[in-house]
Amino acid sequence: MNAAAVLQLQNVQAFYGHIHALKDISIEVREGEIVTLIGSNGAGKSTTLRCISGLLAPTEGKILLRGQPIHGKKPYEVAALGIGHAPEGRKIFPQLTVEENLAIGAYLESDKTIIARRKREVYELFPRLAERHKQDGGTLSGGEQQMLAIGRALMQDPAILLLDEPTLGLAPVLVELLFETLQTLHKAGKTILLVEQNAWHALQIAQRAYVLQTGIITHQGAAKDLSNNPEIKQAYLGGD
């Protein structure tokens, strides 16, 4: 409660075609927090992120970034205001090199020394990317592509980082590595909204969590409390 809210969703509703995908969603992420959004497939997790970054316009409700409304704005305007979105399915540019993918991440920054510093930080975080910096994005393994997607979003130096299922389809070793990286980012003071199907892991590293079910938030609270909640254990953590 003490830290300032970076991102607030207030009573957001959204349609995906004819499907009422989000029904009155309210979420808050505060400075320096990792907040996770968990729930089964089709619950509306990715839709929530798409609404925040402007890929989908909410039909009702408000989205505020540091108090400033961003709902209804275009994705490139929202990006300029400080939303960094590593989208579902990584969506790296397959025919751009690793280096070029990162350069596109820093598209809005024109100061070359700042870009160089951010790139150095990304390479420190993911040495694998540094090794492959000349390679086309499309030739990377799934795990490396995910690192690149996160690295690219970090190049924006966003006020909040939206991560959509970063561990999807990755080998267990890489899942561990990625969650460690998220903790590193957390220690560095980054604010993160994490969408995960790997609920147990997500609740381990997050401070707070929201549980989404068919477009409605059914539970919310401290990640620790939620991971001990029998109902949630049953539904999302593979029983007891």
Binding site: G54, L55, K74, P87, K91, F93, Q95, E100, I104, Y107
Partner: protein, 321 residues
Amino acid sequence: MSDALLELLPSVLLEGLLLGCVYAMIALGYTMVYGVLGLINFAHSEVFMIGAVAGVEVYRYLGPHIGNPYALALTALVVAAGVSGLLAMAIERMAYRPLRARGSTNRLVPLITAIGLSFFLQDFTRLIEGLWHGEFYMNYPANEQMEALHELPLGMAIQNKSILVIGVTIVMMLALDYLVRKTKLGKAIRAVAQDASTASLMGINPDRIIARTFLIGGALGGVAGVLFGLLYSQINPFVGFIPGIKAFTAAVLGGIGNIYGAMLGGLVLGTLETLGGTYLFFMTDGAIGNEYKDIFAFIILVLLLLFRPQGLLGKTQGEKV
């Protein structure tokens, strides 16, 4: 007879190369637009034509004041690049963007829009030229210094203006290559071509990048118009159609969406067409003459679509217009 044909070969190749330069420069416009929008801008042949007309006007009005023929040609090139680039941008703004904004994913609608625009631009140019100068057939004036021949080995000779055409083409291609590979705009163009919606998450406004792409492709088309005028002298408001459709063929030949493919496709098509046009005449004792060279280009297109539909440098992917 074969001796005579062999003797002719170097000059025919040179002729083909020059035509290929023009095709390549136009083809780049088709392929760049296809890259970012996935549609064929059939109005591009008129962007080329307007470039040629803008060049003629430069010759008409500045010719008497600029003594050096190279300076005059460069002025014409720069003006044509500007006029055609802005025209291409206007076409995108008025004809394609409104369709995109309405969320139409139909590929037929922009195609028909483009064909309509083509007709409009042809007749509008005819009207304007008619009102302005009383006629709409135009000439790039001959210039002694430009026509002067240089002897080359193998019995070839090359005119100054041909050297200019080849030089301008090389410079433009190198500049485009640098722009696309190294600059921020070039990276953004490639990012938008690969995934516009993800590019917008990085703060790139796809509409702006698309407009710039039309500007660049249009400018290249305008340059091609002046080169065409320098080489063949006579132009009119309907001169864009055949080179336009050939350049489109060249873009498909090289692999649509691939700028190096457009360069290669243009040069290959120009050369093959000139070779075919010349040699078929001799081989058939004049029964099939040079007037069939247009057919030649399209036979190449048909064969290519049958055996290598992705083009010379294109990657396999089944879809699009």
